[in-house]
Amino acid sequence: MNQRPNEIKIETHGDIILLDIRGDVTAFSEPSLNSAYNSAKESSPKKIILKFEDAAYINSGGIAVLIQVLAQTRRNNQKIGITGLSEHFKKVFNMVGITKFATIYPTLQDALSAMAALS
């Protein structure tokens, strides 16, 4: 039962880079997430939104990969928004402390509006 590779679309919305992450997020997502982040980093964005599919399966391996991406964004002084999470994974991200380093928004539109207003 192999996990299909994540498909990650990269979009620019003003000064925000959106990573639209399709598929489940597990330890096997590390190459695709790192590759997408490295591509996004080329334009030196100060604001990045990570959008997940609301039906995505996210496990602790995926959480570890995300935290490693957050560590890079912190070193690069980037603000991170997260959207597309189910209520369950909002709770899980809060439990593990991801919300100390990224803001969760209910919808993509909310994320884009709120982050556009950030300096």
Binding site: A64, Q68, H88, M95, V96
Partner: protein
């Protein structure tokens, strides 16, 4: 004893098969009356127990199996995940995200951390029939 309130799943020790466990146990939990948010807690916990069994318990042995059992009794759902390993050697400390972000700690320990918080009780290091067992419990009420 197997009865109509008990289910068993015998899975290959490979990543991905935990999805069969979470699908089966989610259906079982729904059938005995658990609400959707608790079923989501259960799915995450079962997935973490199964992937730990594959990675840390069976350590990639191709012939090893992961056995998952669930029993609903007296408004309590008991779930056991068995592997052929030796269990945790020591109490795992909770992951500290501040230290992980600063590269002071490795990004590990989230699976056990989530199981302990999402279930009503989790016991590690039980052994049964020469297998290592993680036993989790979720109450229907309260």
């Amino acid at each position: 004893m197997l009865d109509d309130q008990t289910v068993e799943l015998n899975l290959p020790s490979k990543f991905g098969y935990e999805r069969i466990a979470i699908g089966g146990l989610a259906a079982f939990a729904k059938s005995v009356g658990f609400a959707p948010p608790r079923i989501e807690d259960l799915k995450t916990s079962v997935a973490e127990a199964c992937t730990n069994a594959v990675q840390h318990g069976n350590k990639g042995k191709p012939e090893a199996r992961v056995l998952v059992t669930a029993k609903f009794q007296d408004d309590v759902l008991w779930i056991s995940v068995f592997d052929e390993g030796n269990g945790l050697k020591a109490e795992l400390k909770d992951p500290d995200i501040d230290r992980i972000i600063e590269n002071l700690d490795p990004p590990v320990g989230f699976g056990v951390f989530l199981m302990k918080r999402l279930m009503d009780n989790v016991e590690f290091d039980r052994t049964s029939n020469h297998l290592h067992e993680v036993r989790m419990m979720m109450k229907l009420k309260g």
